[in-house]
Symmetry: C2
Subunit: 317 residues, 2 copies
């Protein structure tokens, strides 16, 4: 699956993903008003979820020729209960229908038997009375590795068996990520380096034609030095890079995460794209998102160029 | 909320929770056959989820006079998609209706803004057009603290504002939990001790009448020495203790997690209760679960007694 993501990145010459972390509040007022007139307490979640799906669909239509992937943050859908989860499912399905690689940002984690259930839910299927049930199919998921190997193996197995991928949290983009992740263990490595090294090991067998594995790592764009060092350290690990845009990082901050071919990561931006209409002073949120996605693509291409790492233009065979 | 859990534990003289980690395969064959006759690929998830809910309801009815709490592992519900999530919601609601404290075992984690969405989903509500939507209400959740303070604060805020609680992963029960958690950092503490100390600090303001905080810790029964040391170290932190029963630990292994009043933890068992009917060679799974819940209660009471820590019999005022 990592090969399919990298092929799509090269074809679109754009190593970015649009983050559909769609809070209801992000929807423009007029758009909401039109869809929510006369709403009651009984149907408010249902109708809000439908409004969010309509919004997502327009965003997907606007950006699907520009970006290779979307990342869908499940928390914003869980928050709206069952209608929200239906919207999550529909959003993943619609993005796939429009040819995008889908990343379900779920950060799941548990002991072996339970991790197996999560892997079945997002990267596989469960068999009931001989019938396969796919719950919330996605191409990639995000996973938290605090529980160690037996919490990761079921995801790695599902990646192998069903041609999917997973990004494991290594160095996250938030301000307090260093509290635990930057601590040094006795052999001198930081905890995020320990985690990174484990990802490298866990994913060793799953390496594809570009030398990257189906098991990748989450590395925040907000920590450029650490990103650069991790790129050198974890040669076979592809990065999912959050933190661009609203969280503060630009193209320059993240070139260190890329290799000499201009590959090695997919950069996610959510709020800066979903809410681009506010900055552009328009109500056409889809057009504004498209413009911002194009601006982001150009920003990163320019930064890679200036760093002497222009992206290769031919896919590997 | 921790006070309400401890009150219930004292009233029932039983520091245990039944884990509703209900895999479809756990349902007795006859029970399944009766509910699934003529099932098709189109309705298999829907009907399986209903069968699981019926099973859970009978288990809850059988144990609700014996145990103070249930822990519902969301992975097994996510695996069945939207019908599964409905079953998750219904199971939590039915347990609450029967007077049980509910623990949603979700192990969620994310950066601040997103953690806020998770907290709203399980420990609060979100406001849409001035109407409050409660997604999957539970009394407690489990949380993974790899992201540091800004990933925890939204949960702590929700605990304070809505009288709820959270258990943060400290030392998990699985075989490979030590790979990361047992590593020592430069000041000589293990990572699980670092995490435990943080839980203590995060939860400081939320301490109730028993001296325990609404922010507790997950400490696996499968590591008795570490549990005992953590009990001494983290005096204000209540433990959710998985690993009893099918994972291998018995009453003796976990007395170290308790204080001199016989308090300090709630012990979870899942498979050993849900599948007790197999060992007892009966199809009456509810009666078998009740017997096993009673056996577990007696086992832990005896172990506490022998350790010189019999549980107090009066609730604090």
């Amino acid at each position: 699956m990592i090969d399919r993501l990298i092929d799509a990145i090269i074809e679109k010459q754009n190593p970015t993903a649009v983050g559909l972390d769609t809070k209801y509040d992000y929807l423009p007022e007029d758009f909401r008003k039109a869809l929510m007139a006369g709403v009651t307490k009984a149907d408010v979640a249902e109708r809000a979820a439908k409004a969010v799906f309509n919004f997502n669909r327009e965003i997907i239509d606007a950006v699907c020729d520009i970006v290779p992937a979307v990342k869908v943050q499940v928390a914003y859908y869980e928050m709206a209960g069952l209608p929200g989860m239906r919207c999550f499912y529909d959003t993943l399905a619609y993005a796939r229908h429009r040819g995008l690689v889908t990343i379900a940002d779920i950060k799941r984690n548990d002991i072996g038997a339970t991790a197996q259930a999560y892997a079945a839910a997002y990267l596989g299927s469960m068999s009931i009375e001989g019938k396969a049930v796919e719950a919330f199919p996605a191409d990639f998921v995000t996973v938290n590795g605090y529980l160690g190997t037996d919490g990761i193996k079921p995801f790695a197995d599902a990646c192998r068996e069903n041609d999917r991928g997973a990004f494991i949290l290594v160095k996250t983009s938030n301000p307090s990520s260093g509290e635990l992740q930057d601590l040094k263990v006795e052999d001198g490595r930081t905890i995020y380096e320990v985690m990174g090294d484990q990802v490298c090991q866990w994913g060793g067998e799953l390496t594809g034609k570009y030398g990257y594995s189906d098991l990748g790592a989450v590395v925040g764009a907000t920590y450029p030095e650490q990103g650069e060092a991790l790129r050198k350290r974890l040669k076979s690990v592809f990065f999912l890079i959050p933190g661009y845009g609203a969280q503060g990082a630009g193209g320059k901050e993240l070139v260190g995460c890329f290799d000499e071919r201009g590959l090695g990561g997919v950069v996610n931006a959510s709020r800066s794209i979903l809410c681009a209409y506010k900055k552009q002073d328009t109500t056409d949120f889809a057009l504004a998102a498209k413009r911002e996605a194009e601006r982001m693509k150009a920003d990163i291409a320019q930064a890679l160029e200036q760093a002497g790492k222009p992206m290769i233009t031919e896919c590997a065979k």
